[in-house]
Each structure stands twice: as C-alpha cells, then as structure tokens.
C-alpha cells in the first residue's frame, strides 16, 4: 500500500516535471512564432520599400528615354539643315559667278 502510494507520488512528480518541460517548449515555440511573424512583417516592408524604389528608378530612366528621343529628333534636324546648307553653298556661289558673265 505504502509502496503503491510512493509509486503514485513519484509518477505525479514526474508528470509535473513533464508538464513543466512541455510548458517551456510551448513558450519557446510561441517566441519563435512571434519572431517569425515580426520578421515576416519586416521583410514585407523591405519588399514594399524596394518595389517603390525600383518603380521610381524606372520612372527616372523612362524620363531619360523621352529626353533622348527628343534630342535625337533635334539632332537629326540640325544635321539635315547643316547638310543642306553645305550642299547649297557651292551651288549658290557658282550661280553668282555665272551671273552677268
């Protein structure tokens, strides 16, 4: 009878220890979960911020594209005008020389 009681007490004691271990394991698990949730949130923010930055950067490059297109058109115009002037100079001077001869 006494032996059985001792056995029961020991089992109860061990169960108490087991519960304690389990509680600690649960606590660690909760901490890890919380960490992971915080990290998720932080990474989400980094992702959003970087997306925003990339979008702004692409916008700047698009502005440069437009400026380059406009510049190319202006350069074409200048070069063509210059070429036409170059071609015309000789002809016009020849005409002056031919006049009244």
């Amino acid at each position: 009878m006494v032996n059985n009681q001792t056995q029961d007490d020991k089992e109860k004691e061990l169960q108490g220890e087991l519960k304690d271990i389990l509680t600690q394991a649960k606590e660690i698990n909760d901490d890890i979960k919380k960490d992971r949730e915080d990290l998720d949130e932080e990474l989400k923010q980094i992702d959003n911020r970087s997306d925003q930055l990339v979008e702004e950067m692409n916008g700047l490059l698009e502005d440069l594209d437009k400026a380059e297109e406009k510049t190319e058109e202006e350069l074409d115009e200048l070069i063509l005008e210059e070429a036409e002037d170059l071609a015309a100079t000789d002809k016009e001077i020849e005409e002056i020389l031919k006049e009244e001869e």
Binding site: Q24, A25, D35, I46, L60, D76, E82, E84, A87, E92
Partner: protein
C-alpha cells in the same frame, strides 16, 4: 545626282541590337533605319545634293561597331562637320574669291597703265586721251562689278557661316541640356540605388541576428530534450513501458512542439534567403538597366568637349557680321565621373566565424553589451558616438534579453554599422572599443 534612297535594298540583319551597327553586317547603309520619323520627313524635303551629304555623314559615323544611335548623331553634330566638309568648302570658297581678286587686280593694273598712258598723251596734247579715259571708265565698271560679285559671294558665305554658328550654339544647347538632364535623373537614381543596397544590408543584418537567435533557441531546445530524456528514464525506472511513455500525451505534445519550433526556424531562414535573392535580383536588374544611360552620359560629355574649327576664310574690310557670336557659350562641363557609393569592404572582411568552433563561450544579453559600450563611448568621446539602442533593437529584431557571445555581438554590430552607413573611421573606433571592453570574454 543619284539619291541615296536607291541604296535601300539591304536586308536588316542586325535586329538583335539595332543600336550596334557592325561593319560587314550592313554592307549597304540604310538611311531610313538611322533617321527618326521627323528626320525622315525632313530628309524627303531636302535637295538631292543635301541628301548625298547626309548620307555620307551618317554612313561614315555608323561604320564604327557598337555605336549607339544617339551618341553617333551627337558625334556627327560635333565631329563630322568640323572636319573635311568645312575645310574643303572653305578652300573652294577661298579659291573663288582669289579668282575674283586676281581679276580685280588685273583690271586695277590695266587701269593704272592706262592712266599713265593718258597722262603721257595729255602732256603731248594728243587727242586720243579722251577715248582712253572712256576705256578707264569701262575698266572701273568691271572692277565695281567684280567687287560687287566678291561682296555677294562673301555675304552668301558669311550668311551660311552665321547660320552654322547659330546651329553650333543650338547644338551645344541640346547637348548641354541632355547632359544636365542625365545629371538630374541619374543622381537621384544612384541615391535610390544606394537605398536599395541599404535594404540589402538590412536583410544581411536580420540574417545574422536570426542566426544567433536560432543558435540560442536550439541550445534551449536541446536542454529541454535532455530534461525530457531524463524524465523518461525516471518513468522507466518506475516500471513504465517504453510504449506507454511514447503514447503519453505530454510527451507527444512535447515532441510536436519541438518539431514545430524547428520547422518555424527553417521557415524563417527560407524566408530570409528568398527575400535576399529577390532583392538581389531587383538590384541587379535595375542597375543593369541604368548602365547604358551612364555610358551615354560619359560619351556625351566626351563628344561635347570637341569645339568647332575656324573657317579661316578671308574677311572683307567692312567687318564680319558673325563676329563674336560663337564665343557667347562657355561650354563648361561637369565632371564626367559617375558617383558610385563604395562600401568599406574592411567591415565585411573582418567578420569572424569562430563561434562554431568554440562551443563553451560565455554569453551576455545584447542590452549588457550596448550599455557597456555606450558607457565607454560617452566617457571617452561624446554623445554623438553613442549607439541608439532603440534603433539597434528595431533594425536587428533582437530583444534586449537575447544573449550572445562576443564574436556574434561584434559581427552583428559591424553589420549594423554597415547598414547604417557609419563612417569607416567611426567603425574602426567601435571595433577597437569592443575588443578592449570584451577582450577577456573572446
């Protein structure tokens, strides 16, 4: 003259990179591929001889391999016209003026000779002088005609030259505007790129801090496992069967908790790695996209440093109508170097990974490290050197109670300094302080 358009029969084989026109790939040059839409419609309107000049200009420029279209055009505007084309034109023009001058001189000489003859005849009272005087008037008329012609040629050329100078000013204006535009757009671009790199450093910081946290968690889990094993052994001593122990709800729940904890930690690592890879890809993509613009900006700066040559054609005595026009512009150029942020590799290189080898190192809470360090910094320097603890915890996601070895604190701290872009000199000072304060615990 045959129009250059006749040459338009070539098959475009360079589609993979339309900007880079390689010699041999385009055996016959196609002007319609090079001009913009507005350029094409203007091209249709100019004379055949003008078209031929345009054609030769563009063809020459695009024979160079890998040339960008826009840079090529800027080079034409700055280089092509200043070379042969104008020198030849100037030489031709000078020849024509010389021809007229020779004629004028000949007439002048004839006039002087006749005047001499008239003088002699008059002295001798010979009546023929009147007829000769009429001849001199004829010569004077010829001289005037030639002088007028000379002036008209000069005027025509000067008019062209003035127009050219106006175009040079306009060209400079276009180039400078674009260079300024590059500055205005690339500077904020580089700043934003730097912000992206900071985010990259932030992820690295989080990875380091998480690694230390996991190390602590794993150590705690192992301790609990040992405790459980010890309890199970005691159960066995009480005569409980292995099978019964395994079926015990608390044991089962514990095993589940341990498995979940490890799974969560794995998931955390995976997420961090994914976030890092994703950000690396974003940075690589956007950085590569900016490279052609950076290159073009450099090329533009280089091209626009070339100044036009002088015509060196004879001017008339009346003065030059275009005098001083070109000198209005200062042609100042900014430094062509693109600012690039350099990180001090020293920080990364010095990171040590000895913690795995030495298992039984003493650990202290982050709060203790920071408090000791800040006390030291405040005593020996000033409050500008003190670490903002609130920010440190927020950026690392560490709690004040998270314990770690000195080597881990040092490693995480240096990554935090890198992320915060703390100047190298200050970082050096922090490193020395950490070594001095925690040396015995290393």
């Amino acid at each position: 003259m045959t129009s250059p358009e006749v040459k338009k029969s070539t098959v475009d084989k360079g589609k993979e990179n339309p900007d880079a026109v390689k010699p041999g790939i385009f055996p016959e040059f196609r002007i319609d591929k090079i001009l913009t839409q507005s350029g094409r419609s203007l091209f249709d309107k100019i004379s055949d001889s003008g078209k031929a000049v345009v054609h030769s200009l563009y063809e020459g420029a695009y024979k160079s391999p890998g040339i960008n279209r826009l840079v090529g055009k800027m080079e034409i505007a700055y280089n092509q016209f200043r070379g042969d084309k104008y020198e030849k034109k100037a030489a031709k023009f000078k020849n024509k003026l010389d021809g007229v001058d020779i004629k004028i001189n000949a007439f002048q000489q004839a006039k002087e000779n006749l005047a001499g003859v008239i003088k002699d005849l008059k002295q001798q009272n010979i009546p023929a002088a009147t007829a000769l005087e009429l001849k001199i008037k004829d010569i004077e008329k010829q001289i005037n005609k030639l002088a007028n012609k000379r002036d008209r040629i000069q005027t025509k050329f000067e008019e062209k030259e003035s127009r050219r100078n106006l175009r040079i000013n306009k060209r400079d204006q276009i180039a400078n505007r674009l260079i300024e535009y590059y500055e205005n757009k690339l500077e904020p671009f580089e700043r934003k790129l730097e912000d992206l790199r900071k985010e990259q450093d932030h992820i690295d910081l989080l990875m380091m801090a998480t690694e230390v946290k996991h190390k602590n968690r794993e150590a705690t889990l192992e301790k609990l496992q040992k405790k459980l094993d010890f309890t199970i052994e005691n159960y066995k001593r009480l005569g409980m069967s292995e099978r019964k122990i395994r079926k015990d709800e608390a044991v089962k729940a514990f095993n589940e908790q341990i498995a979940n904890a490890r799974k969560e930690m794995q998931l955390e690592n995976k997420k961090l790695q994914l976030a890092k890879d994703k950000l690396d890809t974003k940075i690589a993509k956007v950085d590569a996209k900016a490279n052609p613009y950076r290159d073009r900006r450099e090329e533009f700066v280089r091209v626009t440093k070339v100044r036009p040559i002088e015509f060196n054609v004879p001017g008339r005595e009346k003065g030059q109508p275009h005098e001083g026009k070109e000198e209005i512009k200062t042609h100042e150029r900014k430094e062509s170097e693109v600012k690039k942020t350099e990180f001090t590799p020293k920080v990364a290189e010095k990171i040590e990974t000895t913690f795995e080898e030495e298992e039984e190192k003493e650990k202290f809470p982050v709060a203790a490290y920071l408090a000791t360090l800040n006390d030291y910094l405040l005593k020996n320097y000033d409050k500008t050197y003190v670490i903002n603890k609130k920010d440190y915890y927020a950026q690392t996601q560490l709690s004040r109670y998270d314990k770690m070895e000195v080597s881990d604190f040092r490693r995480i701290f240096l990554q935090y300094a890198k992320f915060k872009r703390i100047p190298a000199q200050k970082v050096d000072l922090y490193e020395k302080a950490i070594d001095k304060l925690f040396e015995k615990n290393k």
